[in-house]
């Protein structure tokens, strides 16, 4: 634990001036900014929102977030957190230091999860902010009630938990393969493959689809998504830590 603590403190400094912070804060801002712009034109939208502004906002943001934005954030974070080590030949330096190798790999996962928690908190806060702003400008759009903060938090917590499996896989790949484009490419391919409507095991178990599945209307699928996402992610993270800690630095 001593080594992990040291590595985490060092990692916070490495993150200075990196794109990781821009992604963590920028992605929720971009999504909410987009839905603020759309929300201010709600009266012109086809279909009815039945005066439930919060319902409209949460369902749309959460769909966009779970299907596309969060999987893409994971791909970007994986690449970014590894890129500065690959670019600086940092693994060689880190693995020659008197700390356990596993602590270095664990730290990458801690950093990744910390940034995802920050981005998840940011999106929850910003959804509320968008609702308040729309209500301030257009009080007739159905945002007068208090935001269902518990529901929003629960929803985005589940998205985060279900993302563990892709975090484990993507971070593993990003550390092992010194190629940011390859990591990003796999992340994009996985995300888009998750958007394809399908049936059977693919529908239920495709790692990039698990996030959206946490709120699927099919019986048992949300529970399965959480178990596979979180449980599978935990196991996969452990295997990745063992594999990456034992590898040789050539």
């Amino acid at each position: 634990m001593k080594y992990v603590a040291r590595a985490v403190i060092a990692e916070t400094l490495k993150l200075k001036r990196t794109m990781a912070w821009w992604v963590a804060f920028g992605a929720p801002l971009f999504v909410c900014g987009m839905f603020l712009a759309v929300g201010l034109k709600m009266n012109e939208l086809p279909g009815r929102y039945n005066g439930d502004g919060w319902g409209w906002l949460i369902s749309n943001v959460s769909l966009f977030w779970s299907v596309m934005v969060l999987p893409m954030i994971v791909a970007l974070m994986s690449g970014l957190l590894s890129a500065y080590e690959h670019n600086s030949l940092g693994w060689k330096h880190l693995f020659a230091l008197p700390i356990s190798r596993s602590s270095i790999v664990i730290t990458k996962y801690i950093a990744h999860h910390s940034l995802l928690i920050i981005t998840s908190l940011a999106i929850v806060i910003e959804i509320c902010g968008v609702g308040f702003l729309i209500n301030a400008i257009r009080p007739d759009f159905g945002f007068a009630a208090s935001p269902p903060i518990t529901n929003i938090a629960d929803m985005f917590l589940k998205y985060y938990l279900a993302s563990w499996l892709i975090v484990a896989l993507m971070q593993w790949m990003a550390i092992y393969i010194p190629n940011f484009t390859a990591t990003l490419g796999v992340g994009i391919a996985g995300t888009f493959a998750g958007m394809v409507s399908a049936t059977g095991w693919y529908q239920k178990l495709w790692p990039w689809k698990l996030i959206a599945n946490t709120h699927a209307a099919i019986q048992g699928v949300p529970q399965l998504a959480l178990v596979v996402g979180l449980g599978g992610g935990f196991v996969c993270t452990l295997i990745a830590i063992i594999h990456l800690s034992r590898r040789e630095v050539l």
Binding site: R6, A7, I9, A10, L13, K14, K16, R17, T18, Y84, N87, S88, L89, G90, K92, H93, L94, F95, A96, L97, P98, I99, S100, E248, V249, L250
Partner: protein, 307 residues
Amino acid sequence: MPDVISTQAITRKYGDLLAVNQASLKVPEARIYGFLGPNGSGKTTTIRMLLGLIRPNEGEIRIFDKPLTRFRIPILAKIGALVEHPSLYGHLSGRDNLEITRRLIGAPKSRLDELLAQTGMSQAAGRLTKTYSLGMKQRLGLAMALLNRPKLLILDEPTNGLDPAGIHEMRELILALPKETGVTIFLSSHLLHEVEQLADKVGIINKGKLLFEGSIEELNSDREMRLHLKVDKPTESIELLKSRGSVGLGMVGDAIELLVEREADSAEINRLLVESGINVFEVRFKRTTLEHRFLYLTGQTESREEK
């Protein structure tokens, strides 16, 4: 006194390529050990094994009299290393880079300013390292390697890519360290003159094989001395020298050359020739340089050139 580094027949293969072949090194304490070899000879692979970055396929590595495989962390706690180019985060300043390593190894904060001053990097410490010259990067890399007050410093080609002034500065720094701190330095280089200027003991490696290990004096003492003579009757002279028992006799252009054991032999040979009625126009020694001794050992030249 046990050796700081002691390897027993370490071998490392990459597929079919034998990068290091049965190398047994002995690095004594508080000395500068020069690990010499041409590019691709197995120096960096050996260093990577010494730092536990890769594992030998065969053999054992003992550092501070302990096996590296079992005591990796306590051994690395006493080692500072600069392998090839320093690993620096370009988006951070020199001070931040040093601070990251300090946090990782738990060194006291006061070491930062101390080392920045020692390596002459205090002024540039606030600048992003992506703006540094190679020399500055090497100096900062050395500062990082010294953070934990190492008892063993492993430097892989520390002057690679530096300009002459940078090379001079780095050499001065390296030379001062054992005297000031008692650190043992294991320095790899492909430059003989660099090792000659810095090291007390030398290991020469080529194609993964350790070809020589000993002091610079031992390496020097193994050098040949040849006598170069210009005379008016070369054929007669050769017959005369043969009868004297001279070895390595031969014609090189219009001159005679032969091997001698000591400088005093030249006077005796000169007297012998003159007393036999042969005019001697030129007598001079040709000694194989250390460089050619190195090239000969590493198989990079067939003949022994002279100066």
